[in-house]
Amino acid sequence: MTDDEFAAYQSLSEETGDHRWAFGTGFTDPLEGIDASVPDSVDAAALAAYCLMLGDDALVYSHRLQQWMTRMPELEEETALANIALDLLGQARMLLARAGLAEGEGRQEDQLAFFRDEHEFRNVRLVEVLDADFAELAGRLLIFSAWRLALFSRLAESADPVLAAIAAKGVKELAYHRDYAAQWVIRLGDGTSLSHGKMQAALGTIWPLVEELFEADPVTAALPGVAADPAGLRGEVDAVLETVLAAATLDRPGAAPMARVAGKSGRDGVHTEAFGYLLAELQSVARAHPGATW
């Protein structure tokens, strides 16, 4: 970059006086300065479990997206996906911190992220499966972000003010993620016959894990006015997918939902085989060096 160009860029990023940026390692509590008391009308244990579910979805999926780093087809796409993974990691941090506070047993985000075992994770199975190719990445990201955007837009009205604030912030991020993924699904679906075939096959692979997103669970049921009914999200998500699939000239897959195991699925702590490997990688450093900082 020449001096002139650098000066121009500097003038754009001038100090504005709003100190929102966390540099270095002094930034430890994602909910610092927020009144974290749980409203009297809200079941605190259920709220903790609910935030854990939503936090785990973001944490695990963020890690899966991070695994794409250095493997993306273009440098620009890599930065785009890193931004998305980072947004989700931010959501995970706030939700896990909220879960720890509502639980009231002194567990913080790091304990929850790095020192729970596989059966204690409450994420849906959609987020833990490794993408076989770029088409699966685009398809899974579209479905995940369309679903989470529908969920967060409802949670922005939650009776828990902290959850509502986290959701309101997330809505803007997720709207971009959904747009990004939709553009790729359309580009691939409406592209060459090869890309169309791969995109259609990817949707078929992902589809069995979609049904789980809309299944009722006891935690959500215990939080009227705080949590959002999963079944109520189906209409909005279906409408989004229908629009994108139509523009992409893709067919909605008819694959049957993946079976539950003894009536249990991701929200009950029952996961796919791939999840154990993911978790081992995610937790290895924190477990090898407990309490380490950098």
Partner: protein, 99 residues
């Protein structure tokens, strides 16, 4: 259906940003993208990560007509000795404010 032409690489786009307080879009760099819409997305992801912009323009680099270094003298040298084009050769009356 006819197969769209497959490119070996994505074309180059130039990126212009307008900052919060700035008045003009400023050239900040370039990127590769398959089409203008993707270029806009890439520009957002590459050049506004630190809250630099409120507006982005992208222009395909091939659509920019640039002056050539070979024409530097015919283009710019003739204005070099015409100092009288600068508005510095008249007195500003005392009662003209804000100058």
């Amino acid at each position: 259906m006819t197969e769209p032409q497959v490119r070996s690489g994505w074309p180059l786009y130039e990126v212009f940003l307008r900052g919060k307080r700035g008045l003009n879009h400023v050239h900040v760099g370039s990127l590769h993208a398959a089409d203008p819409q993707m270029a806009l997305h890439h520009a957002r992801d590459l050049y506004t990560r630190r809250n630099e912009g409120v507006s982005i323009w992208v222009v395909a680099a091939r659509d920019i007509t640039a002056s050539s270094p070979d024409e530097k003298d015919p283009f710019f040298a003739p204005s070099g000795d015409k100092v009288y084009r600068h508005p510095t050769f008249y007195e500003i009356p005392d009662d003209v404010p804000h100058m």
